[in-house]
């Protein structure tokens, strides 16, 4: 009788410990998941700012705009990509080799997976696409005749005006030394006032 009672106490104690342990692990994973979500949102903001920074007048073809005020295009994909890298480094806090210098959560190099420019000629409806090869850092030019309003970016957004599409890959710290690889992507267009 005595023995049975002690067994009961031990079993109850173990059950309580197991329940506490399971709850603690679950809560830690939920917190880590939420932190990755918040960090992803912050990185998305930083990517959007970097995309928008490339759509400034320094990268636009002002000569073309002076001839055809409706046609807003980027003049040189290489210069646009240089601008993108410059602002991405500022916004995310990366060094010249795209390694994090101030970011608390990113582990390892940030990889630019995709960078595409869609130059739209509003007068003709033609779209010139420039696709970056991330290995050689050179652009492939593809002409889409009259495809304005039909052509879609890899994110599925219809190209109606000059657009930048970019995707970066980051490795984020999660919990217990685990890391999670995440793609952050967005499309940003320029609309003339």
């Amino acid at each position: 009788m005595n023995l049975k009672k002690k067994d009961g106490s031990v079993i109850s104690g173990i059950m309580v410990l197991i329940f506490m342990f399971a709850f603690a692990i679950m809560a830690i994973f939920l917190i880590a998941k939420y932190r990755v979500f918040i960090e992803g949102q912050i990185l998305h903001n930083e990517l959007v700012s970097s995309n928008l920074a490339t759509l400034g007048s320094k990268d636009l073809d002002l000569d073309l705009m002076s001839q055809y005020p409706n046609v807003v295009q980027l003049k040189d994909p290489n210069l646009t990509f240089e601008s993108f890298q410059k602002y991405l480094k500022y916004n995310v806090g990366l060094d010249d080799s795209l390694m994090p210098i101030k970011n608390k959560f990113i582990r390892g190099k940030v990889i630019i997976k995709e960078f595409q420019i869609y130059n739209v000629n509003s007068n003709t409806g033609d779209v010139t696409e420039y696709d970056l090869n991330p290995t050689t850092l050179s652009f492939t030019q593809i002409e889409h005749s009259g495809e304005k309003g039909n052509l879609k970016t890899p994110n599925g957004n219809v190209v109606n005006s000059t657009t930048i599409h970019s995707t970066i890959n980051v490795t984020l710290d999660t919990v217990f030394g685990h890391k999670q690889s995440t793609d952050i992507t967005d499309d940003n267009s320029i609309l003339k006032k």
């Binding site: 009788m1 005595n2 009672k5 002690k6 009961g8 106490s9 109850s12 104690g13 309580v16 410990l17 329940f19 506490m20 709850f23 603690a24 809560a27 939920l30 917190i31 939420y34 932190r35 918040i38 949102q41 912050i42 903001n45 930083e46 959007v48 700012s49 970097s50 928008l52 920074a53 490339t54 759509l55 400034g56 007048s57 320094k58 601008s83 602002y87 500022y90 916004n91 101030k102």
Partner: protein, 135 residues
């Protein structure tokens, strides 16, 4: 026999009470951690809204700076400074910056004997966004 049974019950209750107490502490810690992360995320969202305003105006006006500070204060941030932010109008295409330095209140837990104390502390945060003016 009766006495032993009671002792067993007391041990059970002590285990349960400690277990429930530990769970409550852990739950409170989890809620606080999520609240702090959520506020930090919201502050970044506020910063994103204001970098777009700076892009379109070419600078952060005194009125918008005031609104930005109020938005961050509503989230509980203190000691907000905007030094380094583009506060005077720049030309179209020039670099613009939004640099927010602030303190985020965080709660620290301290076990003082059997008393669990919540202590208010502050964590320095910097939110910076760069872009180009489109004014």
């Amino acid at each position: 026999m009766k006495l032993k049974k009671k002792e067993g019950n007391v041990v059970d209750y002590v285990i349960y009470i400690f277990g429930i107490l530990a769970l409550c502490i852990f739950f409170a810690f989890s809620v606080e951690a999520i609240k702090e992360m959520s506020k930090y995320g919201s502050a970044n969202l506020v910063a994103r809204n204001y970098i777009i305003k700076i892009e379109s105006h070419g600078y952060l006006s005194a009125e918008n700076a005031q609104k930005l500070e109020e938005s961050l204060e509503d989230l509980g941030f203190t000691n907000i400074t905007l030094s380094g932010t583009t506060m005077t109008e720049v030309n179209n295409g020039d670099d613009i910056k939004l640099i927010i330095n602030c303190d985020q209140p965080i709660k620290k837990f301290k076990l003082n004997g059997f008393n669990l104390e919540f202590q208010k502390a502050y964590q320095s945060e910097t939110i910076s966004l760069y872009s180009t003016a489109k004014n």
